[in-house]
């Protein structure tokens, strides 16, 4: 299975910073950026990264993640969402 591009949104800015560190420890380079308008009407911080699966971290490390979308040709498809 090849690499896909994902964008993860968070409940807080610091959640994004913390998760970027966890991804780096897992060998995945992630870029902090504002949430793309095409993905959400909310403005906040998101992470864009390339990985083999949408959620490359363990469930216990996903507490700050709000949702993960797969980016393909500038469009986004939600592939994971936090439980309510």
């Amino acid at each position: 299975m090849g690499l896909a591009t994902y964008v993860a949104t968070f409940f807080s800015h610091f959640g994004a910073i913390k998760t970027r560190g966890l991804l780096r420890e897992a060998g995945i380079d992630a870029t902090l950026m504002p949430v793309p308008r095409a993905l959400s009407s909310s403005c906040g911080t998101c992470l864009r990264y390339q990985a083999r699966s949408a959620a490359p971290l363990g469930q216990d490390q996903m507490g700050e993640v709000e949702q993960i979308a797969e980016e393909r040709d500038g469009a986004y498809a939600i592939v994971w969402g936090a439980e309510e």
Binding site: F11, H13, L32, P34, R37, S41, C43, G44, T45
Partner: protein, 364 residues
């Protein structure tokens, strides 16, 4: 890349439309450099409902009603209306309260700060300096783990409460004005306004554009600092440029009254640079911890966001307190009580930032 270009054009184009509308609202009756001001309009509306008794600033501003309903209409159209909330509501109320104390020290929200500059009011420069400094302080805490609790999805009806409140205000204004306090003609800025239908239409259009583009002065500066991305800021530069050009044209055609370069004798403004800057410092500081400027909070409340609705109520309470206890500035300058309130506000906002940062929460 094409999408990015289109998005940028949309933000700049939206900013131009908003800037022209804001300047034209002054021509059509609003107070000087006050085509839009969320802080002033919330203050006027609080006064109209009898929450404060400053007779010079009492009027239900249809622009605010339009902003919320325009934001809601666009969100429904784009299937983005989403009732959610539950993120530290009382803390958000307090932040909204003190954001208003700061705004009424300066006499304007970030939106009006830009419009004041576009009208030649150079006092706004002190406002911008303080505002950016306040945002930088907030960003400092964002990078150190500041976070209010997460939001949750809420039941559908919750998202319609704020729109229902403003529809009720509109009905009161149109059908039962005897229940509302109005500033008498010539008695203050509250008496200056465009006709209801025009103000409402302007609010609807600007609300829809602001929802679509996510225009936010705080977000613009925050994104520039954190990501070196200027998109949202470009929107406000467009608002400024369009309002400036419209003001200059109106000034030339009408023989003055729409643009006056300088510090003294500007409409609804004072010349105390230090307190202008400290007021907007508190405003920017509180707003970055809230996640958006008063305009953005207004639009989000129309999208069904209860956290923003609570913030709006905090802004209204802050406005009522500011006028009931002599905290708000006037054209004559700031008051001693207002200075104390701004200093207290900066301390309270700092306390909120510290106790909601991760190191404090984890006890490290």
């Amino acid at each position: 890349m094409e999408d990015e270009k289109r998005e940028r054009l949309l933000v700049v184009g939206g900013g131009v439309v908003i800037g022209v509308i804001a300047a034209l609202l002054v021509y059509l009756g609003n107070p000087g450099n006050m085509g839009f001001c969320i802080a002033c309009f919330m203050r006027d509306t609080a006064g109209a409902l009898g929450l404060h008794s400053a007779k010079a600033v009492q009027y239900v501003r249809p622009e605010v009603i339009g902003l919320i309903l325009g934001g809601m209409a666009m969100a429904l159209y784009r299937k983005e209306f989403s009732p959610k909330g539950g993120s530290a509501p009382v803390t958000r109320f307090a932040l909204g309260f003190f954001a208003m104390i700061g705004a009424l020290m300066f006499l304007g929200c970030p939106f009006r700060m830009i419009l004041r500059l576009a009208g030649g009011d150079l006092n706004a420069i002190f406002g911008i300096v303080g505002f950016v400094a306040g945002i930088l302080c907030g960003v400092f805490f964002l990078n150190r783990g500041y976070s209010l609790a997460r939001t949750h999805k809420l039941g559908g009806a919750e998202g319609y409460v704020m729109p229902a409140i403003v529809v009720t205000l509109l009905v009161l204004l149109v059908a039962a004005p005897e229940f509302i306090h109005f500033t008498e003609a010539g008695e203050g800025p509250g008496a200056k306004h465009a006709v209801i239908a025009v103000s409402l239409a302007a609010g609807l259009v600007v609300g829809a554009i602001a929802q679509r583009t996510r225009l936010c002065m705080v977000g613009g500066i925050r994104d520039m600092v954190l990501f070196r991305q200027s998109r949202l800021l470009e929107g406000f530069v467009a608002v400024f440029a369009a309002a400036l050009v419209t003001n200059l044209v109106l000034n030339a055609v009408m023989g003055g009254g729409y643009f006056k370069l300088g510090f003294a004798e500007q409409p609804v403004a004072h010349t105390d640079g230090l307190w202008n800057a400290l007021g907007t410092f508190l405003l920017g500081y509180a707003c970055v911890l809230l996640g958006g400027c008063p305009l953005r909070q207004t639009i989000l409340s129309g999208e069904g966001n209860s956290d923003s609705a609570i913030t709006i109520l905090g802004l209204a309470a802050g406005a009522a307190f500011a006028h009931n206890f002599g905290l708000a500035s006037s054209g004559k300058g700031p008051t001693a009580a207002g200075m104390v309130a701004v200093v207290v506000g900066i301390l309270v906002v700092t306390l909120i930032a510290v106790v909601n940062s991760s190191s404090a929460k984890s006890g490290k």
